[in-house]
Assembly symmetry: C3
Homo-oligomer: 139 residues x 3
Amino acid sequence: MKSYREELWFNVSGRRAMINITPEVESGLRKSGIQDGLVLVNAMHITASVFINDNESGLHQDYDDWLERLAPHAPIDRYRHNRTGEDNGDAHLKRQIMGREVVVAITNGRLDFGPWEQIFYGEFDGGRRKRVLLKIIGE
Amino acid sequence: MKSYREELWFNVSGRRAMINITPEVESGLRKSGIQDGLVLVNAMHITASVFINDNESGLHQDYDDWLERLAPHAPIDRYRHNRTGEDNGDAHLKRQIMGREVVVAITNGRLDFGPWEQIFYGEFDGGRRKRVLLKIIGE
Amino acid sequence: MKSYREELWFNVSGRRAMINITPEVESGLRKSGIQDGLVLVNAMHITASVFINDNESGLHQDYDDWLERLAPHAPIDRYRHNRTGEDNGDAHLKRQIMGREVVVAITNGRLDFGPWEQIFYGEFDGGRRKRVLLKIIGE
């Protein structure tokens, strides 16, 4: 069994963003030399997500509007978590909808994807450096 | 390390459905000969889900009602994504709640399941052929 | 490839709870002797979750309030599933938001975590014995 580990770093200037990280995951996969196995891609922070969906900007705005309806940012005192001095209670909820991680099959040295699958980093509490972990195992 | 790959194909005639795919996953596992490891089961399309829950038709209707409340199909112009000519903006949101994939342990050549766990394909934008990927790694 | 399997047992006296299981997962990892690989941690029951987020009690109350707004427990006849004699229809929905499972990288014999990541068991229909599965594969 071979394995490969890499961290991807992000620093989103606004509060929220969705960033296509498929090229970075493919680059890590090539560096790993692994032809067959699984790749785990996960947010290492608890107010961010890694998810797979369509690379379409209208959809990303739909996600943002929808998450804001399901878990509004303001008023910040609606979340007990914000009594700790944070203002990111909403971000912890939004991340549960979008998910922490994806696991993707590797076949013949490629991400074994359907026609429209792309991997995104979802930031819900930006303004500082945060990381995504790639971990690949296989042969 | 051994690996096994199989695609399951679906063509749901209506817009939405939940289909028990546990027998197909078990069949793939037998064909793989893998006794110990992990199986990844994921939708290869971005308006469909693979999830694990109870094989109970009332629950599946509850899911459908609930998802329609959280992310209604109509009016279709409520989603920016539908300006691309699609009418499936809601399906991309519903799939995030239900999830893209499951990872299941394999022990002694069986899906290592609790008493009620069953694997389902969740279709949210039917009417065409779509796929689920099984990828098994282990020994 | 080495593998390791362990069940964690829970018996929550109330209906709902969120329990930090990171120490139990770390203990299983040490027993496995695996230095590099992946660990799957999943609820074996369909009204419970395993998720990764912050170990902060205010946040856990926020999750509980939010899940109760998205999928209220009562009136129990709002769920078709409860016509089977159950009263846990809401728990099956709450579990979909919080997720069944997490997959975590193992590097140098440790859970490869960001600064605040902790693993929780989320119970949404307590009052009886239920299990979580650890399955570790690697070397």
